[in-house]
């Protein structure tokens, strides 16, 4: 049945190790004619005890006897059993058993060896003492029996009870705890007979059976102290050589007959004791021994005078296995109790063999004999014939690999009844077979063959926090989220991080950063005021304001010009002659630093620079370096060389002064310095710098270093921050945040994996960065999409997977056309594809044209049972294969033609981790027509034609198609069909996406860059319930903002831009007051006048009106916005816009 023919020829490149058999069914061999007993199942390692058989003389004709213990070491490939101990005994044995009496689970006590001797004696040995080599190994001895003790058995329920049988129908029950006086199971049976077998029932502890050579078996009930049933077929030919109870069924037993005329095994059921239930007639001659496996009741060993060792199923009579033996009879056979596949057989040719019934090679079975033959005869010409024996002429000892088939039926112990395996998505696949119980109904039987798929969710907190984060991203409620995190922070550092993150979503992020660093502007103002008050009196602020407002127009009044001979006089003379340089020198010499600087300003840039240098050279106060940096604008120097204890100050300075193009780098630099510092406290502070810098990748690196990221919650801690920061960067900055660094990619895919493992496939997809070519992310996305059960329609046979498909041949081996890929080097094709392809994907994904035609409701993902992502989350899945195909290169030359292009997870809408979709940006207030659209919103669609873009172009040398096959990055559509305005040179470069003309502006959330302040204004924060500005005053706002925009586009130096930005922001105070209608009519009318003068570009008129308003109105009413309005007017005047 089981592959009688050897089909191994079909295997290519079969690699047999020459000379080494694959495995042998014969495991070990001991050259003894001996009785044998395996150590009990509890014992580890496995021992085999042997005692010289009383019936046999061994080859030496010696009459000595010994008791030996061998260890079964299966890791030793040799046939030799490892001998542990030998005890020279004065007895020879008829029976040897090893009971687990007093054995503990640790195996410290190795039980007791019980031997049946020749002269009615039973001897108890301590195997541990034998192994230890002790002289005194006998525990007890009793010679109460008559004649040889051939039958012994240990009660498996009470291991201190041993039954023995001998001549004269003698049966004794021994209590090993009280060995002196045995009990009897009842009156001796008549006529007196030899007891050849004895066995305790395997299910009922007080039932014992005995049998004798005459063929009768008697069953004893020890509670009744009498025989309860006698079993006999009345043939008079059943000479019982073996008796065994059924391991599972209490009423069944087998009897084996050694009579050659009736070489059978009878299976009896005591409930029907008139005739045998079944008769096994598999042996040709008398049976000498049987053994019933405790591990599988369908396995019964028997050996007979036909020299066969058979394994039969006593329940069916079928022979399952025949051990290949030599021609010798075996007189004893035993299953190893511990290793159910192992058995031992003792044969009359003086050998105990240990076999496996799991099959294997028969090679080596005879090798040892052959070797021995050779050594005994001394040479290969034993008979002196001159013709050496060819060593390979022994039958069956051919070069052929002889296979011994395993049992026809797999033994019970290899049939796995239960299993549970995890699969992707936190699913657990389980099955468990119901244990067969005969009386069970059919319904129960059917139940067995079900497989259950369960969802395992173990990280409740992680999931709920992740869901919260999704919710926040969806609702854009960043500020309150950050605030909650701040409130819940356990550590000061955590609190700081969240405070820093929160600032990104608030007005005046720069100022708030400074506050967080301990520089509260108002506090500082007060401090300064109070410091000045000591000199100038209480009204200094008002005075200042007025002084400032009157500064540019020449101050009135007269002054005295002295031309005396002192320093004053000299300076005066120098000034009068226009010799600024000398005047400055004089001032410096006189230590009149302020005068020197003031004069130097008048003397021009060069002189000013010289003077500053001279000043710094002369002045050595503690803050000189700071002032130097402020004046020289050399912040790199501060960041690079400041004492790291002062990192806050350095960061504050950078926040205040750094130019947009250097801000991020400076924050990074500071962060890097902190990180490389030995002080772990400072290391973590680097995170704050990276937050300011908007450097997600470095934040991840720094955080990972500082925190244990291995458990889901600490990863959640990190991801919360990363997501919020990315969001902030996207919202506030022009920087291209699409780039996902290696580390971030790793963390995000780790995070998505965790979510997936909790069954949240949709959430995992939502969090997976969409715009990266990191292989692990591309692969994970594909896996997630398909796990959702959404293969691309019509793609059944060539599913889009991010792998180079390896081809397997159909049924028969042989060359198959087109299968040229070598699977041994898959990486060669595999990774490059992943590397190249998603770059294209990234580009095509950015094209928003597909979006309008696929509203979220149309996404099939929504129909999925498990948590469809909220609107605004990525719908991956191949929901839009047509678009995907259209956007792809159709047959890129570098690709295997059978390979589906590569992963194309299309999305039907933007994900939160993409730049925000245009049509979903909440508008806080109505924008004027010419309002500059917030830069971060445009950034994803219109990448700056800067370094980044050129990098990307370089990355796709072999894929020029995507760019040209794109719909040329069409103009994105706003919901109202309102096109973008205010983009510089919007249509000046045909064929180029509008944004390509946008200058590349590096940015960071806190960077004081060009449009930042405006962006902050337009941020979708939660404060959107402002009243509208009354229509009649709207003109003020549009006019002022228009003016600022005009100034911004003409202004060249960053400082001016910054001033204008700030002004734009501060004017919000004015608008607020307009909304609240709290301004006095005078001021309102004055503002309208200014607006009119702006319309006519008469800025000096505007300034005059301004001065008038300031001087006539209540300071507190106007101080919030009038000074900046003046700045704007002044700038406009200067720039001539």
């Amino acid at each position: 049945m089981l592959g009688e023919s050897d089909e191994r020829g079909a295997t290519v490149g079969r690699n047999w190790s020459p000379g080494v058999p694959a495995s042998r069914m014969k495991l070990k061999e001991i050259d003894r004619t001996a009785m044998q007993a395996w150590s009990p199942a509890q014992n580890h390692p496995i021992y085999l005890a042997t005692g010289t058989s009383a019936q046999q003389l061994d080859a030496t004709f010696s009459t000595s006897a010994s008791l030996e213990i061998f260890e079964l070491d299966l890791s030793d490939p040799s046939l030799d059993m490892k001998s542990c101990a030998t005890f020279s005994s004065s007895h020879r044995y008829h029976k040897l058993i090893w009971g687990p009496h007093k054995m503990d689970s640790k195996g410290d006590v190795s039980g007791v060896l019980i031997a049946g001797g020749e002269n009615g004696n039973i001897i108890l040995y301590d195997p541990s003492k034998i192994i230890a080599g002790d002289k005194e190994v006998v525990i007890a001895q009793n010679d109460k029996h008559t004649g040889p003790v051939r039958a012994l058995d240990v009660n498996i329920f009470q291991t201190n009870l041993v039954a023995s049988g001998a001549n004269e129908s003698e049966i004794y029950i021994w209590d090993l705890n009280n060995f002196a006086t045995p009990m009897t199971p009842g009156a001796k049976t008549q006529p007196p007979e030899d007891i050849s077998c004895i066995a305790w029932n395997r299910q009922v502890q007080h039932i014992l059976a005995s049998a004798n050579p005459s063929g009768r078996a008697t069953v004893w009930d020890l509670r009744k102290n009498e025989p309860i049933i006698k079993v006999s077929d009345h043939s008079n030919r059943m000479h019982c050589s073996g008796l065994a109870w059924h391991p599972d069924v209490a009423t069944q037993m087998v009897l084996a007959s050694e009579d050659d005329r009736l070489p059978v095994i009878q299976m009896w059921d005591l409930r029907f004791a008139s005739s045998p239930l079944r008769v096994l007639e598999n042996h040709a001659r008398g049976i000498l021994a049987i053994a019933w496996s405790m591990a599988d009741p369908e396995l019964l060993l028997s050996c007979g005078k036909d020299a066969k060792i058979l394994c039969s199923n006593p329940n069916t009579g079928e022979v399952l296995y025949e051990l290949p033996t030599n021609t010798q009879w075996c007189f004893d056979i035993q299953w190893c109790p511990r290793n159910p596949a192992v058995l031992s057989a003792a044969s009359f040719d003086g050998r105990i063999s240990v076999y496996s019934i799991m099959g294997g090679s028969a090679d080596g079975l005879r090798q040892k004999q052959v070797d021995k033959l050779s050594s005994s005869f001394g040479n290969l010409d034993p008979f002196g014939t001159g013709q050496p024996l060819p060593p390979l002429q022994i039958p069956q000892q051919t070069a052929q690999h002889r296979i011994v088939l395993p049992l026809k039926k797999p033994p019970k112990w290899v049939r796995r009844p239960v299993g549970a395996s995890f699969s992707f998505g936190g699913k657990l696949v389980t099955f468990a077979s119901v244990r067969t119980q005969p009386q069970q109904g059919a319904e129960q039987q059917l139940q067995q063959h079900h497989v259950r798929i369960s969802q395992v969710v173990t990280e409740e907190e992680f999931l709920s926090r992740s869901a919260q984060l999704q919710q926040v991203v969806q609702s854009q409620g960043f500020v309150s989220y950050c605030q909650k995190k701040i409130d819940a922070s356990q550590t000061e550092f955590e609190k700081n991080v969240w405070s820093f993150l929160k600032v990104n979503f608030e007005d005046d992020s720069r100022g708030k950063y400074l506050e967080l660093l301990g520089y509260r502007k108002e506090d500082l103002g007060k401090k300064i005021a109070s410091a000045l008050n000591k000199v100038d009196g209480p009204d200094v602020r008002i005075k200042e304001e007025k002084q400032e407002s009157e500064f540019l127009p020449s101050a009135g009044g007269t002054f005295n010009i002295s031309i005396s001979g002192d320093i004053d006089g000299l300076i005066t003379q120098a000034l009068l002659t226009g010799n600024f340089e000398s005047a400055v020198d004089l001032c410096l010499h006189d230590n009149r630093m302020a005068d020197a600087i003031i004069l130097a300003i008048a003397g021009g840039q060069e002189l000013l620079a010289q003077t500053q240098k001279k000043y710094f050279a002369k002045s050595q106060s503690k803050i000189t370096r700071l002032i130097t940096a402020v004046v020289m604008k050399n912040w790199k120097e501060i960041v690079e060389s400041c004492d790291l204890k002062n990192w806050r100050e350095a960061l504050a300075a950078v926040l205040t002064y750094a130019k947009p193009d250097e801000f991020s780098a400076l924050c990074d630099l500071l962060g890097t310095r902190l990180e490389s510092e030995g002080d772990s406290l400072l290391q973590t502070q680097a995170c704050l710098c990276y937050i300011c810098a908007g450097n997600v990748e470095k934040l991840v690196a720094c955080w990972t270093k500082a925190q244990d990221g291995s458990n889901p919650l600490s990863l959640q801690d990190l991801i919360e921050k990363v997501v919020i920061l990315r969001k902030a960067v996207q919202l506030t900055q022009a920087m291209d945040t699409n780039t996902v660094g290696v580390l971030l990619a790793e963390k995000m895919s780790q995070y998505a994996n965790l979510l997936a493992a909790q069954g949240s496939i949709a959430a995992a997809l939502a969090f997976l960065p969409d715009n990266t070519n990191q292989p692990n992310i591309v692969q994970l996305r594909d896996r997630l999409c398909r796990a959702q059960g959404n293969p691309a329609p019509g793609q059944q046979e060539s599913p889009k997977i991010p792998y180079e498909r390896q081809q397997l041949p159909k049924g028969r081996p042989g060359p198959v056309a087109g299968h040229t890929q070598m699977p041994r080097v898959p990486a060669q094709q595999y990774y490059p594809h992943v590397r190249i392809a998603p770059t294209v994907t990234t580009w095509s994904n950015k094209t928003p044209t597909a979006l309008p035609s696929h509203p979220p409701a149309a996404s099939p993902s929504d129909t999925q049972g498990e948590n469809p992502p909220p609107p605004g989350f990525i719908m991956h899945g191949n929901v839009n294969p047509n678009v995907a195909t259209a956007q792809l290169p159709t047959s890129p030359g570098h690709m295997h033609t059978q390979v589906p292009p590569y992963p194309q997870p299309q999305r039907s809408q933007n994900g939160w981790n993409d730049p925000p979709a245009l049509n979903r940006v909440p508008k806080k207030k109505k924008m004027p027509e010419n309002f500059m659209p917030p830069v971060p919103i445009t950034s994803p669609i219109m990448n700056p034609l800067g370094d980044h873009q050129s990098q990307m172009l370089q990355q796709q040398p072999s894929a020029p198609v995507p760019l040209s096959s794109q719909a040329s990055f069409p103009q994105p559509h706003l919901p109202g069909g309102q096109p973008f305005h205010g983009i510089q040179q919007p249509l000046s470069q045909p064929g180029m996406p509008p944004s390509f003309s946008k200058p590349n502006i590096e940015g960071a959330p806190g960077a004081p860059i060009g449009n930042t302040m405006q962006h902050v204004q337009s941020l979708p924060t939660e404060k959107i319930t402002k009243k509208p500005i009354p229509d009649e005053h709207l003109i003020l706002k549009t006019t002022f903002e228009d003016l600022i925009q005009r100034c911004l586009s003409s202004a060249t130096d960053p400082q001016t831009k910054r001033k204008l930005d700030d002004a734009s922001k501060r004017l919000e105070f004015l608008y607020d007051k307009l909304r609240e209608q709290t301004l006095s009519p005078t001021i309102i009318s004055g503002l309208h006048n200014i607006a009119r003068s702006i319309e006519t570009r008469n800025y000096s008129e505007g300034l005059t009106i301004h001065t008038h308003i300031v001087s006539t109105s209540n300071f507190s009413e106007t101080s919030a916005f009038m000074p900046v309005l003046k700045v704007v007017l002044t700038q406009a005047n200067k720039l001539g816009v």
Binding site: G3, V12, G13, R14, P21, A22, S23, L74, S75, N339, M358, G359, G360, S361, P410, V414, R415, R416, P417, V418, A420, S421, F422, S423, F424, G426, K427, L428, T430, S433, R435, R452, I453, S454, V456, S710, N711, N753, R786, A787, G789, I801, E804, R805, Q806, Q807, L808, G811, P813, P815, V816, H819, P823, R824, V825, P826, A827, Q828, Y831, G865
Partner: protein
Amino acid sequence: MGEMVSVINTVDTSHEDMIHDAQMDYYGTRLATCSSDRSVKIFDVRNGGQILIADLRGHEGPVWQVAWAHPMYGNVLASCSYDRKVIIWKEENGTWEKTHEHTGHDSSVNSVCWAPHDYGLILACGSSDGAISLLTYTGLGQWEVKKINNAHTIGCNAVSWAPAVVPGSLIDQPSGQKPNYIKKFASGGCDNLIKLWKEEEDGQWKEEQKLEAHSDWVRDVAWAPSIGLPTSTIASCSQDGRVFIWTCDDASGNAWSPKLLHKFNDVVWHVSWSITANILAVSGGDNKVTLWKESVDGQWVCISDVNKGQGSVSTSVTEGQQNEQ
């Protein structure tokens, strides 16, 4: 505990005898089962369904295990049987058929496991003949066989590959150059041992480690998926009722230490790691499945009894709720 594990699909396999293995594919959308009825079946179980895709006949004895290859090689399934054969099945044009039959073992083949896909298509097979064979697809329908003889006396019960360890970052690999992987797998057998095998530079497999702790047959070994940490982890279970977690922190990969997860009262048949390697599912001879997780202090705690006793009792409530929906 109850809500931690909820049955979402009960597949009636219609197998006519005991099921011995059930494995989902890479995506968790297809279920392969095998049985003592000598058949292998594949079901589409997407969206809680159970559509029989294939009923594969070819084995002549009980089928012990099934293993899905990585999808980059197509839809490929390996099965091993008491009939001493390993069969590799493949879906071609929607039809499943036998693509290769490996008959190199002399006894029951108890375990099959595909190597990490990065290595190519390599299958390890453990047999009761004590040997482990490694089948490598060399293209053109050819499979190269390497055999480790006498790996476990009386038999090998389980094989499990180590995750692909990439020296350095994959991105840094020179393009077109095969990363220098170190291939390793673990095996467990009737000699009570777990052995770790490593491919030498000459392509030969060498025994690298013997892990000794079990006092009876090792029924299963499972190398934990890599989660980017330097620690390697292996779970093993045995006839002796013990489940051990073996960990190795050192770079040489030779210092393994066992930690006893639990001692059960019956044989433990199977251990399976979650994809994120933080949960171990343990299937015992009392037909009980338990889930275990390592606590913060490094102790393994049982977090759930998936099904008590007969496999269907404790989950029936959840199942009823599912059906109502």
